[in-house]
Subunit: 199 residues, 2 copies
DNA sequence: CAACTTATGGCACCGAGCGCCACAAGGGAA
DNA sequence: TTCCCTTGTGGCGCTCGGTGCCATAAGTTG
């Protein structure tokens, strides 16, 4: 098919999204996010500072990779869930699927998430990305429940799913050996014991 | 006692924290957060731009008021909770207390929270403030459970408490007539039905 | 009046981000 | 080949948030 060469008219890009991201992540990791200027990223990528901002809308967005495309995948997974499954279980399975990492990419993902969750500037920016993630969950929940997306329950489902995922990720960063999927299960189990607790 | 005049040495401040915040919020509300420059805030407050940054560490912090002091209050409320109360109920009561608003201040609080929750820049920045709020909850939960603060359960308790509070606030902004306390109750009830759901 | 303290203002500077425009580098049609 | 069209890049200048530094204003105490 060679569908990847649809004609190619005009000047070819000097590099690509992933290459710039890789160079930037390397700098972030070695020198810190704040200490890395966009000029340094440009130099490391062999492009100009101006062009860096054509690949990424902001410096904060660089560590997020192809998050938006992953959201489409999350939505697809949810749609493909057997409707007989209880809502909370459908959501939990989708979250597990969304956060499944190839064995070879674990180390890189750990670097990425350490930056995102422990760098204040990125921690702040992530709130905007999480909103999109929650919206996908909330829309599915709303459809399942026959409610508007802005009703209480779909909102709670979205927020709580995120709460559990973030709890699991924080534990994951603390513990070199833990598996993310186990921690996601553990977070949900923890919530159940918390609410059923009589102590 | 006249304890408010402990001696007062040196030049008197030209204004105060609350006055600057009030002037800034007015500008934010009328022209939008992004369209309001720190210079405009300085002009409206009768001080220089440089001095604005002595009252607030950043423009993003202005709408938050005296949040840190409120956190101390939240911690105190939690400590004062009868230990016989189930953990989830203690947390829920503390959250209710934390978000109790004087009848006269409701309109202003609505403005403040609308800005915070619907302005992207502030939505991002709020993640940093929420972290402090969650930490207070998590520390209390950890103490009650005899676990380290970074264990799974305290983290989940903090994150889930925030998830419910944010769900309630979003509904509150959508609904002019709703009472925040009722929405907080509703959020918690929603979570219970979600997890116990068999549909 | 002098000494000390606290708050302010102004200035220079840095870095992120954007608008604008010239130009580079490719393809296709004449 | 030559001209046109398209896409990508580089550079310039500007705005705005934020900070360090220092002079100075405005108080109190002696």
């Amino acid at each position: 098919m060679t569908a990847n060469e649809p004609v190619r008219i005009g000047r070819r890009p000097a590099t690509d999204h992933d290459s710039v991201a890789a160079a930037a992540l390397d700098l972030f990791w070695r020198h810190g996010f704040d200490a890395t200027t966009t000029q340094a990223i440009a130099d490391a990528s062999g492009i100009s500072r101006r062009t860096v901002f054509r690949y990424f809308p902001s410096k904060d967005d660089i560590p997020w990779g192809r998050f938006d495309e992953n959201l489409d995948h999350l939505a697809a997974v949810l749609r493909a869930t057997p409707p007989g499954l209880p809502l909370h279980e459908a959501v939990h399975r989708a979250v597990l699927d969304f956060n499944r990492i190839d064995a070879g990419a674990v180390a890189q993902h750990r670097v990425r998430m350490t930056l995102i969750l422990r760098t204040p500037a990125l921690q702040a920016h992530s709130a905007l990305r999480y909103a999109g993630w929650r919206a996908v969950i909330a829309e599915y929940a709303a459809a399942r429940l026959g409610l508007p997306v802005d009703a209480m329950l779909p909102r709670v489902v979205g927020h709580v799913a995120l709460a559990l995922a973030l709890s699991a990720y924080e534990r994951w960063l603390d513990d070199e050996d833990a598996a993310l999927a186990d921690l996601l299960d553990e977070a949900l189990a923890g919530l159940r014991t918390y609410l059923g607790d009589r102590s």
